[in-house]
Every structure is written in structure tokens, then in C-alpha cells.
């Protein structure tokens, strides 16, 4: 319970370093930045492991309370964002994919269409864009909600009631966001590919829907589906971990919340890019 949070945060009390006077030399400044980065990384890894442990250990605890909260988080990080994702999918299709399709058709390179779409949309742009949008829309809300709850003493109230704050506050958000990012990425990819073809069709590109569909399906293999699922779940999981960690990390004052929200979003973006890099390496290896 309390020790779950304490373990992750006692290790990483970065406030004393952040509030220390600015070092005089550039190397000292870089050293401090590196030290802070390592401390934060240590805290995030500890927090992620603790959350995973709680997910596994308490899968049967208080299901009547936790399951509705997970459903609510899936709705928030998934269903509620569908209209926005539909708009983004249309925009992505019109602005990027449609132009790519028509450019490839102009130079007679429609044979590369499938593999280009798979690399650009399925592997990279779709998952990363979905993760960024969910981070902006839901991740920020996590930091503010949890930071406010922490500042208002709600975490202590949970502990006093014998309720594990990680189980009650973090687990539903992590699971909800992992499912949400995965589902939204699938919708985004399908929407973008469809609207991209529509744009190309409007430009009289000589490509039938059947050929377009065939090219894309032939360029896809089972590994794309597996890695897409893993990648998007990893995005959702780690975005939730970063935002929840910063929301709960320190006993905050209300005026700290906005500053911490900015830091959490920045680190969320960095984490997503690092995960993406890891998966690019995986694609290259396999």
C-alpha cells in the first residue's frame, strides 16, 4: 500500500537537486541534468515494476470497484477520443497519404505503394500519432487529477481506508490507456488508409480499390500485427506510468500541478520516441 508508492518515490526525491543553485560550469550543468535523468528513470522503472506487480497480484482484489474504473478509463482514453481520431485520420489521409499515393502513381512506382504505406502508416505514423494525441488529451488530465488528489490529501485518505492507491488510482488508468491507445491506433490506421485512397481517387490516380487493398495486405505480415499490438500497448502503458508517476510522485502543492504536468508531457514524448526506436531496432533485426 503506502510502501508501494514510497518505494518508488523515496529513491527519486529530485526536488533537492532541481531547487539547488544553478551550477557555474557547463559540465556541472550537464552533470546535474544527467543525474536528474537517471534518478527519474530509476523512479519510473521502479514505479512501472510496482504497478505491474500490483496488476498481477491484485487481479482478483475488489473487482467490483476496479473493473468499472477500468471500463471508465477505456472509455476516456478510447471511446471518447474517437471523433477526434476520425478527424485526424481524415486529415492524415488527405494531407499525407493521398499525396504519397498520387506521387508514387505519377512516377509509375505504384508497386511500392503497399510497402510504403505499411512502413509509414502502420509501423510509424499511426502508432506514434495516436500515442501523442492520447498523451495530450488524457495524459495531461492524469497528471492534473492525480496531482490535485495528492495536494488535497485524497491519497492519504485512501491509505487510511486501507485502499492501495496504486491499485485504485493507477492500475485502471494504465490498463485503460494501454487498451485505448491500441484501439485508437487501429482506427487511425484504417481511417487514414481509407481517406488517403479517397484523396488519390479524387486526383484520378489510376488505382482501383482492389489493387490498393491487395498491395497493402501483401505488404503486411504477421509480425506487423504482433509488433503493432505490442508497441501500442507499450505506448499506452508507459504514457500512463509517466503521467501517473508525476501526478503522485511528490506531495504537491496545488501551484506545483501545472509545472509537473508540463514535465510529465515532455517526458511522455521522450519515452514514446525511445519505445519507437526500440521497435525500429526490432523490425530491423527480425
Amino acid at each position: 500500500m503506502r510502501e508501494n508508492l514510497a518505494k518508488a518515490f523515496a529513491l527519486t526525491d529530485t526536488q533537492i537537486f532541481r531547487r539547488a543553485p544553478l551550477p557555474k560550469s557547463y559540465s556541472d550543468f550537464l552533470g546535474r541534468k544527467l543525474f536528474l535523468f537517471l534518478l527519474t528513470l530509476q523512479g519510473l522503472v521502479a514505479f512501472a515494476l510496482i504497478t505491474l506487480g500490483v496488476i498481477l497480484r491484485k487481479s482478483r482484489t475488489a473487482r467490483n470497484v476496479i473493473r468499472p474504473r477500468i471500463r471508465r478509463e477505456i472509455a476516456r482514453a478510447g471511446v471518447a477520443l474517437l471523433p477526434m481520431f476520425l478527424f485526424v485520420a481524415l486529415a492524415l489521409g488527405f494531407l499525407v497519404i493521398g499525396q504519397t499515393v498520387s506521387a508514387l502513381a505519377r512516377v509509375g512506382a505504384t508497386g511500392y505503394l503497399g510497402s510504403t504505406m505499411v512502413i509509414v502508416v502502420v509501423r510509424e505514423l499511426g502508432p506514434l500519432l495516436a500515442a501523442m494525441l492520447v498523451l495530450a488529451r488524457v495524459g495531461t488530465a492524469h497528471v492534473i487529477e492525480l496531482g490535485t488528489a495528492r495536494a488535497m490529501g485524497e491519497v492519504e485518505a485512501l491509505e487510511a481506508l486501507g485502499i492501495d492507491p496504486v491499485h485504485y488510482l493507477i492500475v485502471p488508468r494504465v490498463l485503460g490507456m494501454a487498451v485505448g491507445v491500441f484501439a485508437l491506433t487501429v482506427y487511425l490506421i484504417i481511417g487514414a488508409l481509407a481517406s488517403g485512397y479517397l484523396f488519390a481517387f479524387l486526383q484520378d490516380v489510376p488505382l482501383t480499390p482492389g489493387d490498393y487493398y491487395k498491395q497493402i495486405t501483401e505488404a503486411l505480415n504477421w509480425l506487423d500485427f504482433v509488433l503493432l499490438a505490442l508497441k501500442t500497448i507499450a505506448f499506452g502503458f508507459f504514457i500512463a506510468i509517466v503521467t501517473c508517476y508525476h501526478g503522485l510522485a511528490q506531495p504537491l502543492r496545488l501551484d506545483d500541478v501545472s509545472r509537473v504536468a508540463v514535465r510529465a508531457v515532455t517526458q511522455g514524448v521522450i519515452v514514446c520516441v525511445l519505445i519507437d526506436t526500440l521497435f525500429i531496432l526490432l523490425y530491423l533485426v527480425t
Binding site: 500500500m1 482484489t61 470497484v65 488535497m152 485524497e154 492519504e156 485518505a157 481506508l161 486501507g162 492501495d164
Partner: protein, 261 residues
């Protein structure tokens, strides 16, 4: 009574209490205090004397910096998930309530019951309704905590602490800022709980309250203690409080003191 029933509910030996926000900052030292079952203690002190921190430590929410604190004979340092049942024998009412603002009042009260007893909302509803009726909260049940006054929020916090029928009730400055009607309601309610209420199967409840104003707590059946200069001083009964020559006690009794103005 058996030996177990007579054993101290709260027992502190040479305890140093750290601040909740920064445990390295010691707010109380050498606290030795024993609370027997069924006792009603009023711990008084000026603001920032360490009252809230003492209650948090007593509830097992933080470990003592030094010394030993036992609840029902178990060291509070051992209060992990394995000792959750022991922990749930203690109810804590925070100053200001610290309610969950995302939930309605009914959901706030039902949460501990649903979480620990794994009850469906329907199954928990009956117990919750009974308690809400008892504390006159039923008309407000579907409102958000932010929609009601501080008087009612404090009462919701009491309901949330009572829903699991604890044996010990710790209340952090429960009368602060209450209107007269609510203040009298609280005093009556806590007396009833301490004597044994049907809600808790007639079992007398051990009650510890903190306060920065001793006047409302005038009652011969209560025991009093004072926090001053980082120390814990047991005062005795009300007569001892009234006869105490301590300037802090006099201030907490609102006896006019010499001022610089």
C-alpha cells in the same frame, strides 16, 4: 473481561513523530501514551503542534522516527497488507474530510465497503443507506462533496470512517469551523459512539480527537492531553484541565491572556 480485551488499544513508547509532509522534520518527541479500550481522549494543541501528525502515526499511516507505536498490540511498522484486518479496526476522520471529489457522497461512503468486502453496489447499498440515514446525510447522498458545505463534508467523512464499523475512531479537529447546530450534533454523536451505538453492535468505541479549542470538549468522562514544545503531556480529566496552570491550556480554554496590543 479477558486479557485481550483489556490490552491497550494504542501504546506508544518514547516515540518521535515526524511531519507527514517531511518525515525527517520531527514535530513531537518522547511521546509515551497508552489508550485503553473504550476510552475517549481529547488531544489539544495549538496549530502546528503536531496533532495531525500524531493521529496519522497512530493510524499506522507513517512509522515513528524513533520509538515504538503499537495498535492492538501490533507494531505499526508491520502494518502491511498482511495486517490489513488490524488496520481496518481503526477509522480516521481527516480535518476537512479529504473526500474523493470525483465520487458522490453515497459513493464516498460505499467505497471502503465495496473495496474490502468485495460487495456489489446493490449489496453495499443497504448498509450505506442505513448509515446515511443515521447521520442525516440521505438527502445529500447523490451530490458531489464539493456541492455541500464544510459542515456536511465533515459528516460525510465520519460516515466513510464508520462504514467498516471500526473499534477505534481517530478524528482530526472534527469541530473546526462547524456551525453551532452541527457542533452539538457532533458532540452527541461521538458520545453515543463512545458509549456504544447500535451501528457498532453496541460495543463502546475508543475515540481520540484532536482540537485547538478545549471548551466544547468539557466532559468528566474524557481524558485530556496537551501537545506543547514538541512534547506530549497527559493532563487527566476535565477538572485537571481547568485547574492546570499552563498558559497554553488557558489559551485553549480561551481564558483572556495578556496581549501586546
Amino acid at each position: 473481561m479477558s486479557e485481550t480485551e483489556n490490552a491497550a488499544v494504542i501504546e506508544m513508547r518514547e516515540v518521535s513523530v515526524g511531519a507527514m509532509r517531511d518525515i525527517s522534520f520531527v514535530v513531537l518527541e518522547e511521546v509515551s501514551w497508552t489508550v485503553a479500550p473504550g476510552e475517549f481522549w481529547t488531544v489539544a494543541g495549538q496549530p502546528y503542534a503536531g496533532k495531525s501528525d500524531l493521529l496519522m502515526l497512530t493510524a499506522g499511516l507513517m512509522a515513528p522516527v524513533k520509538g515504538e507505536c503499537k495498535l492492538f498490540g501490533t507494531d505499526t511498522r508491520m502494518f502491511g497488507e498482511a495486517k490489513l484486518a488490524e488496520r481496518l479496526r481503526v477509522g480516521l476522520v481527516f480535518a476537512g474530510g479529504q473526500l474523493f471529489n470525483q465520487l458522490t457522497i453515497r459513493e464516498n461512503v460505499a467505497l471502503p465497503l465495496q473495496y474490502h468486502r468485495d460487495l456489489t453496489p446493490a449489496a453495499a447499498a443497504q448498509a450505506v443507506e442505513t448509515l446515511l440515514e443515521l447521520l442525516e446525510l440521505a438527502p445529500l447522498a447523490d451530490l458531489a462533496p464539493t456541492s455541500v458545505s464544510d459542515n456536511w463534508r465533515q459528516r460525510v467523512a465520519l460516515a466513510r470512517a464508520l462504514i467498516l464499523k471500526p473499534q477505534v475512531l481517530l478524528l482530526d479537529n472534527p469541530l473546526a469551523g462547524l456551525g453551532t447546530r452541527h457542533l452539538h450534533w457532533w458532540l452527541r454523536c461521538l458520545d453515543r459512539l463512545a458509549r456504544g451505538h447500535d451501528w457498532c453492535d453496541g460495543r463502546p468505541m475508543t475515540v481520540v480527537v484532536t482540537t485547538d479549542d478545549l471548551r466544547p470538549w468539557r466532559n468528566a468522562d474524557r481524558k485530556f492531553a496537551l501537545l506543547r514544545d514538541k512534547k506530549f503531556f497527559p493532563l487527566g480529566g476535565w477538572n485537571d484541565v481547568e485547574s492546570a496552570n499552563d498558559p497554553v491550556v488557558k489559551e485553549l480554554l480561551a481564558v483572556p491572556l495578556e496581549t501586546t496590543i
